[in-house]
């Protein structure tokens, strides 16, 4: 049987260098650092134990301090319990009996004193401390991706990189919003041309002088424009809530358009002729509501980027929704041929009776009522009798 133990062949034979067993890895101990310390070396000790830059443990401690003082409590507990490089801990935890009981009682007392701060102030301050820490971390990561300068070095270097990274994030956000607006309101070719130009500049820079910092804003611009294009958002029709109540086919337009907001086309009092009546609605971001008389057959073709199509009591939602429901109608029945284009939002067709209020995407006054069941085939055949909900 093989053994890892060193064989001794006699007192005169000394083991050569090759025969000596490999040195056993020294067990790591979590101790307070004497050399790398700002207050008591707790953060330095943790950083050394986990082999990371002490800046991160200090940022975490400061961020936790905003969480109702949890960082201060933990620091105090670590100060009491962690031994120093030089010797023992402030409180000796190695012993048995009385010492251990005292430590448990002490930590319990600390928690008892601190819990109102942890629960009360923490909820408020966590809204600042944790997002701040996340922002700093994101800044370091982004700058690492952009420049290749990793999170190493002294605290001043890391802070500089975090600030530069946060600057890139802010720049990306501004470009993202501006790009989305330009894609929705400007000429269709504008943003693609800007992205292609930026790409060409980055390619040329790869051979001359790399301009990597241009990549994140250009990518943000392209992604924002892509989402706007894929959703089909167009701000040409304006912004706000629009209600149209045509009384006759003379007042009824072929097309109703809105950029952002709620568009309501109420046809319940419109004198509609028998046969097909075409209607187009186009909303970039928001909701299109079409209210029809109960005896009107509705043929719907709806294209929704992200959102929902609600036809009376039927729902169809998701991404790239293509809803087709085109029943045939008998000649003496009015058939509304609805063609809806919605970027992000909902198109809704209802045959509600009576007055209503429509705010924030909801019908006021109808919320507690079930909407009526509707047999579309019967309506289109002119024999529609619907049970009231």
């Amino acid at each position: 049987m093989e053994s890892n133990d060193t064989q001794t062949n006699g007192p005169e034979e000394q083991p050569t260098e090759e025969q000596q067993p490999p040195p056993q890895p020294q067990q790591r101990r979590l101790t307070r650092s004497r050399e790398d310390r700002v207050i008591a070396g707790v953060c330095g000790g943790f950083a050394r134990y986990f082999n990371i830059d002490p800046v991160f443990t200090r940022i975490a401690a400061v961020a936790l301090a905003f969480v109702g003082g949890a960082g201060l409590l933990l620091y105090l507990a670590a100060l009491l319990l962690m031994p120093s490089d030089e010797g023992g801990a402030v409180v000796d935890t190695s012993g048995q009996g009385r010492n251990r009981v005292l430590v448990i009682l002490g930590v319990g007392a600390l928690l008892l004193v601190a819990w109102p701060f942890l629960l009360g102030g923490g909820i408020f301050l966590a809204g600042v401390g944790i997002p701040l820490a996340l922002l700093v971390g994101a800044g370091v990561l982004v700058w690492w991706l952009v420049s290749g300068e990793g999170p190493s070095g002294d605290s001043r270097d890391v802070a500089r990189r975090a600030l530069l990274g946060i600057g890139v994030i802010i720049l990306c956000f501004i470009v993202c919003v501006g790009g989305a607006f330009a894609a929705a309101a400007g000429p269709d070719w504008l943003v693609p041309a800007m992205v292609i130009t930026a790409g060409a500049a980055v390619v040329a820079g790869a051979f001359l002088k790399p301009i990597r910092w241009l990549v994140p804003p250009a990518l943000a611009l392209a992604l924002a424009a892509g989402v706007v294009s894929a959703a089909g958002i167009d701000l040409d029709g304006g912004v706000g809530q629009r209600e149209y109540r045509p009384t006759s086919t003379v007042d009824l337009r072929d097309r109703y358009e809105l950029g952002i907001g709620d568009l309501i086309v109420d046809l319940r009092d419109t004198d509609l002729p028998a046969g097909d009546v075409p209607l187009e609605v186009d909303v970039g971001l928001g909701q299109a509501v079409v209210l029809v008389p109960r005896d009107v057959c509705v043929a719907t073709s709806a294209d929704v980027g992200i959102g929902n199509v609600r036809m009376f009591n039927r729902d169809n939602g998701g991404i790239d929704v293509d809803f087709q429901d085109t029943p045939e109608a008998v000649p003496d029945v009015t058939r509304l041929v609805l063609d809806a284009e919605i970027g992000v939002g909902e198109v809704r067709v209802e045959d509600l009776e009576g007055g209503f209020e429509f705010h924030d995407g909801r019908f006021r006054g109808f919320e507690d009522r079930d909407f009526t069941e509707r047999d579309e085939r019967a309506v289109c055949e002119g024999t529609g009798e619907r049970a009231s909900g």
Binding site: L145, G148, D188, W189, V191, P192, A193, M194, V195, I196, A198, G199, A200, A201, V202, V203, A204, G205, A206, F207, P210, I211, R212, V215, A218, L219, A222, L223, A225, G226, V227, S229, A230, A231, G305, I306, I319, D320
Partner: protein, 60 residues
């Protein structure tokens, strides 16, 4: 005389941006119909290529 070696991550990122911009331009010209079904994989592929090139070059 040898040409300078290009910066690979920047080259990949630039080409990826060119590809993404071309897709957007084709949609703007009405030659393709860009929906989320097409845009989502293209955006993921472009972002992934840029991150991959960046990570691999750093590793090398």
């Amino acid at each position: 005389m040898r040409a300078a070696r290009p910066d690979i991550p920047a080259l990949v990122a630039g080409l990826a941006l060119l590809a993404l911009g071309s897709v957007l331009l084709l949609d703007a010209l009405g030659l393709i119909d860009l929906g989320f079904g097409l845009f989502a994989p293209v955006a993921c592929a472009v972002t992934g290529a840029i991150l991959l090139a960046n990570g691999l070059s750093r590793r090398a």
